[in-house]
């Protein structure tokens, strides 16, 4: 069964005794060196990690829910996404934020074909599939097939507009407000907004009254 010869080789994944991968070992060594040389304080590193990890989809959802409930705000947001976010006390770290609204006729989809550009300051870190080569290559080539795999089948007459976030702008999809949500307040609307709907691989599901 198992007849081919195994040559001696290094393990594919290099780990130390504590289970740290090679990249972690290098990072830890570099960090220790920078701290020892007085170039960085350990607290600064912790703070930066917190800054990177604290934003999450709740910030994006807050923006969307406000845009659904306040039309004047929606107009300002579409004109200048960064200022629109700032109105709600949300600081966009990226150069510019372009909010792209879904309509009955247009569905927007965001991808970064070159790497993993993503509105991290309002959605947090991107999901692993967003960074995958498969998503990056296919979203600009066969968007309908991608959407179908995410469970979203668009009517043929609905236009797909793909945004390749390849340079300095970041994109946030403004999903359509689902039917049957007229009675919900902003907080309740926020809870409906998903990460995937703000990337454009999903829509916001209709709220069903219990």
């Amino acid at each position: 069964m198992h007849e081919h010869k195994h040559d001696d080789h290094l393990p594919v994944v290099a780990e130390d005794d504590a289970g740290n991968l090679e990249g972690q070992q290098i990072t830890t060594a570099l960090q220790a060196l920078l701290v020892r040389k007085g170039l960085l304080a350990a607290g600064e590193i912790t703070l930066e990690i917190q800054n990177i990890e604290s934003p999450g989809t709740h910030l994006g959802a807050k923006i969307i829910a406000r845009a659904w409930t306040d039309d004047a705000y929606r107009q300002r947001l579409l004109a200048n996404g960064k200022n629109g976010a700032a109105e709600l006390g949300i600081k966009v770290g990226e150069a510019q934020l372009e909010v792209v609204p879904n309509t009955p006729d247009i569905h927007n989809l965001v991808v970064c074909t070159l790497c993993s550009c993503y509105p991290r300051s309002i959605l947090g870190q991107p999901p692993s599939w967003y960074i995958s080569k498969a998503y990056r290559a296919r979203a600009v080539r066969e968007p309908a097939a991608i959407l179908e795999e995410f469970g979203l089948v668009l009517p043929k007459g609905k236009k797909i507009r793909i945004h390749d976030s390849n340079a300095d702008l970041r994109y946030l999809v403004l999903p359509e407000r689902p039917f049957g949500t007229e009675d919900l307040d902003e907080q309740e609307l926020m809870a409906l907004v998903t990460r995937d709907s703000m990337i454009g691989v999903a829509i916001v599901a209709s709220w069903q009254k219990k």
Binding site: I160, I162, N166, A167
Partner: protein, 86 residues
């Protein structure tokens, strides 16, 4: 306008699938430092105009058959654009 197929090596932000393709400028985004410079430590400029350009999907991909209305929008720095025939 048309996207140029420049023979620039390094940290370029103009993917191959739009090179040589014709599109429509839909937005001027402002002036930005060129990533080709930034990647090699040139941080003092010059800055380049950046545009959002829209392309018909069926023009980008010869076998695209979902809808002639589907489009792709992408950011292109000024020096990658040939505006001579518009």
């Amino acid at each position: 306008m048309q996207v140029l197929d420049l023979n620039i090596k390094g940290h370029i932000r103009t993917p191959s699938y739009i090179r040589g393709k014709s599109g429509t400028v839909i937005q001027f985004c402002g002036f930005f430092l060129n990533p080709e410079d930034l990647s090699v430590g040139i941080t003092g400029g010059p800055v380049y105009p950046l545009y959002r350009v829209s392309f018909a999907m069926e023009h980008l991909w010869s076998n695209y058959d979902r809808s002639e209305n589907d489009e792709l929008c992408i950011e292109v720095y000024d020096h990658w654009l040939d505006t001579s025939n518009t």
